[in-house]
Assembly symmetry: C2
Homo-oligomer: 148 residues x 2
């Protein structure tokens, strides 16, 4: 990096969401959508051993968000603007998304997953194994714990 | 995205690790290093409300990893090669890292955090609030659960 890096899709999301309005949003949203992550065929060997993990981190690109960002943004269903980095807004300095999915199975380069919250055709930048979580007892969730 | 996006640093890690050999690695590694994430001053307003979160996702760039990648890679301390996407190897198609840190406090653009596992000077690409974790009971951790 000088101060920039160029990243490219290692694969794409295939799911039923074709418009952002279809994706559950807001603090009570639960993501149960199933679909597949289709990884480029030349990378298939890199998926070896992934089957043993129950959950994966998917790092992806907000390829259809409007360009640019506001430092304060009002999350869906909220009445108050919040600092961008305290939200999952798609309009960020770097349009990178992060989603935890449950891995249901693998067929070659296709990972069947649950918990998608992105559009069909979304470019995937990386996949990492989910190794450990922070327990609910340890978590403080900022404005999400305030009354609406 | 056509098929590429260019991302740039929104800030940098400041911590005591100047060489990768200093960073705990392997399946028993515990990351307790403290340090700061220094966000670019023009983005300070975007950190509003972040103080209420106990944990953050930090998405960052492996700016000093050797270029390129191998689809099978032997993790530190292991004897068997594993598929790249089932590991946290720094040599990936897109050199993007992901770390969960505990947020200890904020002074303006400086986030004091615990749990760093990257080098001093590492470029940060994004910060997101940690909203919920997968419990240990739900997790299967693949090769990490096999005997060494």
């Amino acid at each position: 990096m000088s101060n920039e890096i160029t990243v490219r899709a290692i694969g794409f999301i295939r799911c039923g969401y074709t418009e952002t309005s279809q994706i559950p949003k807001g603090r009570r949203a639960i993501h149960t959508a199933e679909g597949t992550i289709e990884i480029a065929s030349e990378l298939e060997e890199g998926l070896t051993d992934i089957d043993g993990f129950s959950h994966l981190f998917v790092i992806w690109a907000f390829d259809r968000a409007a360009e640019g960002y506001d430092l304060l943004t009002t999350p869906p269903g909220e009445s108050r603007a919040r600092g961008l980095f305290a939200t999952r807004s798609p309009r960020r300095p770097n349009p990178i998304g992060l989603t935890v999915v449950a891995l249901l199975g693998r067929d070659g380069t296709r990972l069947r997953v649950r918990g998608l919250d992105m559009l069909d055709g979304t470019p995937v930048l990386d996949i990492k194994p989910y190794l450990s979580g922070i327990s609910a007892e340890e978590l403080r969730r900022g404005w999400l714990e305030e009354k609406t």
